[in-house]
Amino acid sequence: MIVGAQKPIAEIKQIIAPYQKVLILGCGTCVKTCFAGGEDEVAVLASALRLACKTEGQEIQIEEQTVERQCEDEFIQESARAAGRNQAILSLACGAGVQAMARRFTTTPVLPGVNTTFMGVLEKPGLFTEECSGCGDCKLAVFGGICPFTRCAKKLVNGPCGGSQNGHCEVSSEIDCAWHLIIERLKALGQLDNLRVYLPPKNWAASLSSGPRKLIREDHML
């Protein structure tokens, strides 16, 4: 899923400062799961902003709504009427949702309320970890299902650097050394010999490096 974290309230206040009527629009899919922008977070943020503005003597009307997904037009449509009643939309979706909303509502400012951080998993309750960078050329089969391009701070292709100690990355003892995990995993799979093979430089042409990508499925086009 896409993982994000709500922006600090001070930054949100600054972003919406020019407007008196604001729609806070939640998204019911990824950001709901990571507690950044679902229905509950919309309600809490709306209350906090109302209270803060009242304390500071600022006029503001906040409307709340949450749609299933802000990255699909079918769901975005549901917010059209509320969007029309407000001067700005504070979107609690990921960056893709914010942009899909902006594409739809051409005359209403759509503002981000969330910092979109990564594609990852819920490792355990309250802990989300980054696992994939969407490079467009998946090599997980070679690495025992652990991605060094995402999980090694140096994107190393051919083994760990000299900074790997006790299973930790040199960048921080809070980060697992991806290569340590890969070696342990390949050992368990009896595939350690994978690592004897020289791997050529990664082809980044399939990644964002070539510019924003498109996926075309003609069989699904209308």
Partner: protein, 307 residues
């Protein structure tokens, strides 16, 4: 297979000699005089001088330029090059440029992560890894081609070095990684600073058992310690460093003004032991911001005159 390039380091190693290299960090500024002063301190005591490439991710004069200053002084440089800051286009371009300036040796590294440096906000590159860089230089030299297969007008015929850290984990993988670097094209290896001799010897034995010491020249890294503080700092703060508790105690056990002397004594004992290890073909003396210690150490160790 080997090229006919003419570096002194290569000649010494390939003729079975015991090589001595040192390290020289470029200044945080554009003053070439600083490099020349360091060069003067090292000249005649070592066979080649490594020039670091923005080490610890702190911006300094470029390795390639500092190497070129040394070349004009008649000092042979080993240009360190990290994959942290340049993509494959820039790396290949700089390799050709460096060779054209008379720089015959390269040490291929991935580089310290930028989060250690003074500008942690920087974007890193890591388009290719150090292993890929070794292979790239080898392909340029042996096939005369760049990474696209284009035939170069004049191949950079560099003597290729790579790093190895016998003290990083997982230990049993470290020799496998060394083998891979040799297969990729490394001619010589410079190791992380050796303080834990027992572990280094175990690593060397594994390398010998795999026949790797027949295929590559290993130069053991040594760094004299100036103080107990430095020993503690390296033990705790420097990634991939293994300083045994006994050595820290020894540095702390002498009066503060005697500590540099003690550090040099430890360094000389280490060099003596390293020379006895089969497969060690030289030492790489990294006297960090202490270049004037190199001459006395090399002399005291009985490694003079240099060929």
């Amino acid at each position: 297979m080997k090229n006919e390039s003419t570096g002194k380091l290569q000649r010494i190693l390939e003729s079975g000699g015991f090589a001595v290299t040192a390290e020289c960090g470029p200044p945080r500024g554009a003053d070439a005089e600083i490099i020349r002063k360091k060069g003067e301190l090292l000249k005649g005591f070592v066979d080649a001088v490594n020039v670091t490439d923005n080490q610890t991710a702190i911006v300094r004069m470029s390795s390639i330029a500092a190497c070129a200053h040394l070349v004009t002084m008649g000092i042979e440089p080993v240009m360190q090059m990290v994959t942290r800051d340049r993509n494959r286009i820039a790396l290949q371009s700089d390799i050709m440029g460096a060779y054209s300036l008379g720089i015959p040796n390269i040490l291929c590294l991935s580089g310290d992560h930028q989060s250690f440096g003074s500008q942690p906000e920087a974007l890193n590159v890591f388009d290719i890894d150090s292993m890929n860089l070794v292979r790239t230089v080898q392909t340029m030299r042996e096939q005369g081609q760049d990474m696209s297969g284009f035939a170069l007008k004049g191949a950079p015929r560099m003597f290729i070095g790579a790093a190895a850290n016998p003290f990083a984990d997982p230990f049993e993988y470290r020799v496998m990684r060394l083998a891979k670097k040799i297969d990729a094209g490394a001619d010589f290896i410079q190791t992380q600073c050796v303080y834990n001799l027992a572990r280094f010897k175990a690593w060397m034995k594994m390398a010998r058992d795999e026949g790797l010491t027949e295929k590559v020249h290993i130069l053991a890294g040594v760094t004299p310690m100036k103080s107990e503080g430095m020993a503690k700092y390296m033990a705790k703060r420097v990634a991939g460093m293994d300083v045994p508790e006994g050595l820290i105690k020894r540095m702390g056990g002498v009066a503060k003004q005697k500590a540099p002397e003690e550090g040099i004594k430890i360094c000389l004992e280490t060099i003596a032991e390293l020379r006895e290890i089969p497969g060690v073909h030289g030492i790489h003396l990294m006297a960090i911001e202490w270049e004037d210690a190199v001459g006395p150490i090399v002399s005291e160790a009985g490694l003079l005159p240099r060929p």
